[in-house]
């Protein structure tokens, strides 16, 4: 079985974003970058499948990103059991929109006959949750999204998908794109010796030209980032007379805050 895992390096969720003034650019220079947490479930699931199937199973991890993404590929993917890595280095795709990402990933994936393509249900930076489904459409294969349980049979998969208010069990044929949700598994930590050895596994760096692809056009762009409005100062309502205080509070909520 050939498995591909598509991953993204994202800012750590504790990143402090500072914005001097509203504008189309964010200062991303001080960001700590990590593997998208949902992609970690995809990596772990691939490694567990490989551990079950043993020899003949190979995991290729694919990402689009600059040189700094190599650390994530090594530490969080190759060091935990992925076999090889492909990175598309294309500065024009920095902060790409979902369809651009999906088109480039599809071009990479078409170069190998993958039986199973795993990725996170969404990336925690832009939260689009679109790349997985788009990828399945572009590759014309089955898909299951927001998956919390995955079983593989001969040429088929059975996935439990989280849906509004419950779960749906989806059966489909391979190849398939599966987007992974928390609960699917508990990702392992890479061991230090494996981190040191990760650099010895094969890594390929490609550009869109190598893929025979023009850089896909963006259909939208960010015009302005604005910080959330500053929190207004707290107003205290004197509560000497509870009934009067409640009336005053209701008046303030209606007339000033205009929330009721």
């Amino acid at each position: 079985m050939k498995i591909a895992v598509c991953v993204k390096q994202v800012p750590d969720s504790e990143t402090r974003i500072t914005l001097a003034a509203p504008g189309p650019e964010l200062d991303r220079s001080g960001f700590t970058r990590v593997l998208n947490p949902y992609d970690a479930y995809a990596v772990e699931e691939a490694v567990r499948i490989k551990e079950r199937l043993g020899a003949g199973c190979e995991i290729t991890v694919v990402t689009i990103g600059p040189i700094r993404a190599v650390e994530t590929l090594k530490k969080d993917c190759l060091a935990v059991g992925c076999d090889r890595a492909i990175r598309v280095d294309e500065p024009a795709l920095e902060n790409a929109e979902p369809l651009q990402t999906a088109k480039v990933l599809a071009a990479v994936l078409r170069r190998g006959a993958y039986d199973l393509i795993l990725t996170g249900k969404q990336a925690i930076d832009d939260d689009s949750a679109q790349v997985g489904p788009m990828l399945a459409e572009l590759l014309d294969c089955s898909q299951a999204t927001v998956v919390t349980k995955l079983e593989l049979g001969e040429g088929v998969f059975t996935a439990t998908c989280e849906i509004e208010g419950g779960a749906a069990v989806v059966r489909g044929s391979l190849p398939a794109v599966i987007t992974c949700q928390k609960g699917l598994n508990e990702p392992r930590l890479p061991s230090l010796p494996n981190i040191m050895k990760a650099g010895m596994k094969p890594q390929e760096t490609l550009t869109c030209a190598d893929l025979g692809l023009g850089i896909p056009a963006a259909r939208s762009r960010v015009t302005t980032y604005t910080p959330p409005p500053p929190r207004a100062a707290c107003r205290m309502v004197a509560a000497d007379d509870p009934a009067a205080a409640a009336r005053e509070l209701a008046r303030l909520l209606r007339d000033e805050a205009k929330v009721i």
């Binding site: 090594k74 060091a79 061991s191």
Partner: protein, 595 residues
Amino acid sequence: MSQQNYPTGGEFLLRAAAPAEIFTPEDFDENQRMIAQAARDFIQQKIEPRREQIEYQGDTALGAPLLKEAGAMGLLAVDVPERFGGMGADKATVMIISELISRSGSFAVQHGAQAGIGTLPIVYFGTEAQKAQYLPRLATGELLTSYALTEPGSGSDALAARTTATLNPAGTHYLLNGVKQYISNAGFADLFIVFAKIDGDKFTGFIVEKAFGGVVIGAEEKKMGIKGSSTCQVILEDCPVPVGNVLGEVGKGHHIAFNILNVGRFKLGASSVGGCKLALEWAVPYTSQREQFGAPINTFGLIRAKIADVTAAAFAAESMVYRTAGLLDRAIATLDKGAPDYDLKSILKVEEFSIECSMIKIFATEAMALAAEEGVQMLGGYGYCQEYGLERLYRDERINRIFEGTNEINRLLVPGLLLRKALKGELPLLQAAQKIAEELMGVPEFVAPGEPGFLEQEAKLVANLKKTALAALGIAARTFGDKLKDQQEVLADCADLVIAAYACESALLRTQKQAERAGRDGAALMADITTLCVNDAVERSAELGRRALANTLAGDELRTMLAGLRRLTKHDPAPRAKLHDRIAAAAIAAGGYPF
């Protein structure tokens, strides 16, 4: 000067190093960055969810499963040679891991007892058979270990131990009897590195398995801090230890004990740097959110001064720690890695730097003490409450200045070891000191007025800090001779002078190295910190020097030397409030330590 092709311990006092020579955190490679991140991930995933249980319910037994989880990740294998299942990592990597693991709190002490002092005696002094028998299982955490040196009656004076080892009539086993005290990990350890005296005087190391029998573990101590770390007495009652488990040579136990302490000291230095950063991470964001008098408290000068002073102390400590890591790695790199005695030779290289190990132990643990102290103060009443981590950091930090040799013992060691090197002819310290004394009695050189260059005044002052330390030490040695060891106050003042020189030079060189890489603008914050550190160190050194001289000399001689000291410590005082303001601004923007 040394004939070797690398700088030896203490040599920094006599020779100005070039910025390119020293190792700095800006030199970490990709593997080191990944390992640091992996250690953070371990703490985030394995320790944080159990924080309450470990630190506030004092569940010391949790150390055993956590150590095994750390073992599975390779976090116990860093110092173990590759042929025994370890990583055989360089000292810089070892220190990075110590720094990061310190963020785990009590677990850091358990990690240190296992991967450091509990394992390293076998790495460095074990026979091949002992290494093969124990190291692979110590590296994975299958065997949990501890280090049993201290006794109820012998702490700093380790060689006064009363535990005895008596060879049985068959000559197959030593019977160990005695009490070991404050033994980290004792509650769950399978193995104990025990020191005992054979025939009443031959201080010797032993590898003792709990399974040998005759090992009784006392109750958990009720400690001020590191409450999640297991600390018990270990009582040995006719514990039979096979003669094959003697560690190192009979009668050479002190050799093991002192060398392991050296490693413990530099690791503790690194972990204290981690503690400084943690205190800033917790305190600085609070000062941004906390408003009083209608403004965030970090807009107030006295809070900004605290943030800046802690940042500067952390920077100097960090610079010293990684510079020392680089010195150790450079010295060890001269050894033949394939040689059968490589491990033993490498600890002897570390021994050459025992002065640096003691200096970073003192400076970094005291920097962390400042960080915890000011961290609590910045949080005010909240800092005094358990809900905020600083209350715990404040208690946990306290042990750092006590274990691995008290800071007092280490202060005596710094000048003591320097003078020993001088007497052995390894460092021409006394000649250098004599030259400085003559220079001080001569005509002062005329300094042309003008605008100083980038860190020019600081570089000159660092050179003067070294001269001050050398002069004070040289005069004390000349005056007291072999009675100097009884002059503890003079020795401690000399130690602080030497440490100030090493700290400031390490900060200065790191800043210069950064300026070579990133330009002066890219090193502007480091330059402010260096200026602050050097300014404060020179002012403190003036006082230390005066004290040391007044305790050493009298009359005209004292007055002459004091005049010389004034010349060495003469400087244009730095605008501290302005420096504080800029350094604090960077820390506030970063939400903690700004590098």
